[in-house]
């Protein structure tokens, strides 16, 4: 591993840690007074929404296929993790371990569902795939409405409240990091090639179906993890929470944030998930506001607000350093700023 890469990991970790400490400072200093718990809750909402939206972005941005059934995977994760944590309560496990096991179980359950849905569905492309994913999400929802273990259409309640913001923050950071590393490895490269031209991809020796199903599964896994946090935050849920509107909401957050940009997903999800909470009195107009924002974004910035641009702390530091140097040298040479993109 090159030194440059190691340094960039340290810098990125420090960045994440810095944001975390900022939140800790805000919450522990009681700057919001009585509203602290409430705002913490909103931030937790933002955390799991970020995981769900970023995972959907793997499918929509990286693989270039529209999935309108992401809520299905979220619900599988939510129910599976709730069942697991319910079964493991009182076994003497510390809360954090219990939470992580539950999330992992939720992720794996959703991942398995992802494989099962992906193998038949990913033979299709474009609009057809979108319709099939809607259908699968509905099948999953109807199943949960009828299984007795999930409450049989009634509210499943009494789930432990394990979703603490501080934990969720780190889980979110880890999930996003893993997805980012997935995209920036052979897997992301291959999937993007399939998105660009699947005929050329298979003529280059790529097993198109395998990589599509793999990416779909990874996306489903993280959707399940997000769902697990959701379940342990809400402590009660009903299958109708995960209807088509929820999928559409996630998809519109991906599109508004920027198709193919994890930065866009993070900021879009954080903003759009906390927005309805902040404007509670208008909550019934939420979907209306979403649609209007979506239309405006589509007209003025079809690729989403961030396009496929990624925020990079390392790059910013690099630029700042260069600017400092140039000031010292007394001349700006703009072409020198054209740096090489990372090769790995």
């Amino acid at each position: 591993m090159e030194r440059r890469v190691k340094i960039s990991y340290v810098i990125n970790f420090l960045g994440v840690l810095g944001v975390f400490l900022l939140f800790v400072l805000l919450f522990e200093s009681r700057i919001f007074g009585a509203a602290t718990q409430y705002i913490k809750g909103i931030c937790t909402t933002a955390c799991y929404t970020i995981i769900m939206v970023a995972s959907l972005n793997l499918v929509v941005g990286c693989m270039g296929e529209f999935s309108l059934g992401h809520a299905g995977f979220v619900s599988v994760g939510a129910y599976a993790s709730a069942i697991v944590s319910g079964a493991l309560t009182g076994k003497g496990l510390p809360d954090l371990a219990l939470f992580l096991i539950a999330l992992l179980a939720g992720g794996i359950a959703a991942g398995i569902t992802g494989v099962l849905v992906g193998i038949p569905a990913l033979r299709l492309r474009g609009d057809y795939l979108a319709i099939v994913t809607v259908a699968f999400a509905e099948i999953i929802r109807v199943c949960f409405c009828n299984f007795s273990i999930t409450g049989g259409g009634k509210t499943m309640s009494g789930i432990l409240k394990l979703s603490d913001f501080y934990w969720c923050y780190w889980i979110m950071a880890a999930c996003v990091a893993v997805m980012y590393l997935y995209i920036r490895s052979r897997f992301g490269r291959t999937v993007m090639a399939i998105r660009e031209d699947y005929i050329a991809a298979s003529a280059s020796g790529i097993n198109v179906t395998y990589y599509k199903v793999l990416t779909f599964t990874v996306a489903a896994f993280f959707a399940g993890v997000g769902g697990g946090i959701y379940a342990h935050y809400m402590t009660a849920m009903i299958p109708t929470n995960f209807n088509f509107m929820y999928s559409a909401e996630l998809l519109s957050e991906v599109i508004i944030g920027g198709i193919g940009s994890l930065t866009g997903s993070i900021i879009g999800a954080a903003f759009l998930s906390s927005l309805p909470e902040m404007m509670r009195q208008f909550s019934q107009y939420r979907m209306l506001a979403y649609s209007v924002v979506l239309i405006i974004v589509m007209i003025f910035k079809p690729g989403g607000i961030f396009g496929n641009w990624e925020f990079s702390l390392v790059r910013i530091l690099h630029r700042a350093k260069k600017k400092g140097h140039e000031k010292a040298e007394g001349g700006v040479q703009p072409w020198k700023q054209l740096e090489r993109k990372s090769r790995y």
Partner: protein, 271 residues
Amino acid sequence: MEAAGKKEPILKVQNLGIQFGGLKAVDSFNMEIGESELVGLIGPNGAGKTTVFNLITGVYKPTEGSFYLNGQRMNGKKTHQIVDSGIARTFQNIRLFKKMSVIDNVKTAMESKLSYGLFHAVFRTPVYWKEEKALTERAEELLKIVHLSGMEDYEAGNLPYGQQRRLEIARALATDMKLLLLDEPAAGMNPTETEELLEIIHFIRNEFKISVLLIEHDMSLVMKICERILVLDFGTTIAIGTPEEIANDTRVIEAYLGKEDEEVEADAKSE
């Protein structure tokens, strides 16, 4: 046809054919390509040349006949399996991964040579770095061969036309193939670019000891570099031979230029 007196041919095609509904796009197509041989495949528009490529690369499933690569039967295999066994191609209408960098285009084609899994990718283990580094070096070498050094980080879709064609060849080379299928590599190129392309084809053929099957409309190019030429018309093979033989074959001339008036009349009478 004899594979120029050499041992086992690389590619052996026997009575290959495909039917789309009532139309026989390719009919009992036979061909053998020997080791490091350069064979041309020509014919008028719609003769079925690209269909032959699509059959050999598994894009279409043949409705009759079979083909063998190094004695191994390839029928019914998926495209990526065929590529893995050693047949790579370029496309008539360039198909690059346009939004990806030049080097990533080449790296993508070496995907099957990588062995690191999800774990190594996510935790960026030494295995990951080692394999990716080797991959990058190999990709850079290949780009050098097609004269694209220094263009690694450009977006492939932004390259000029001739360079895109060459990048496609580099991508095909990256699959480590034994037989390279080039579908009109010189289409839309100016004479200088064509000359450069010729050099590259010669170079890779000697360097990698591969066989090349070439579809081309530029007759001067075909006549210049091909050792043997196979002419298709309406899905059937009408002539096989050396460039000189083909240039003087009446059926080939007919297929390209049509018959002369007296001949048509004579034919009509005899019928």
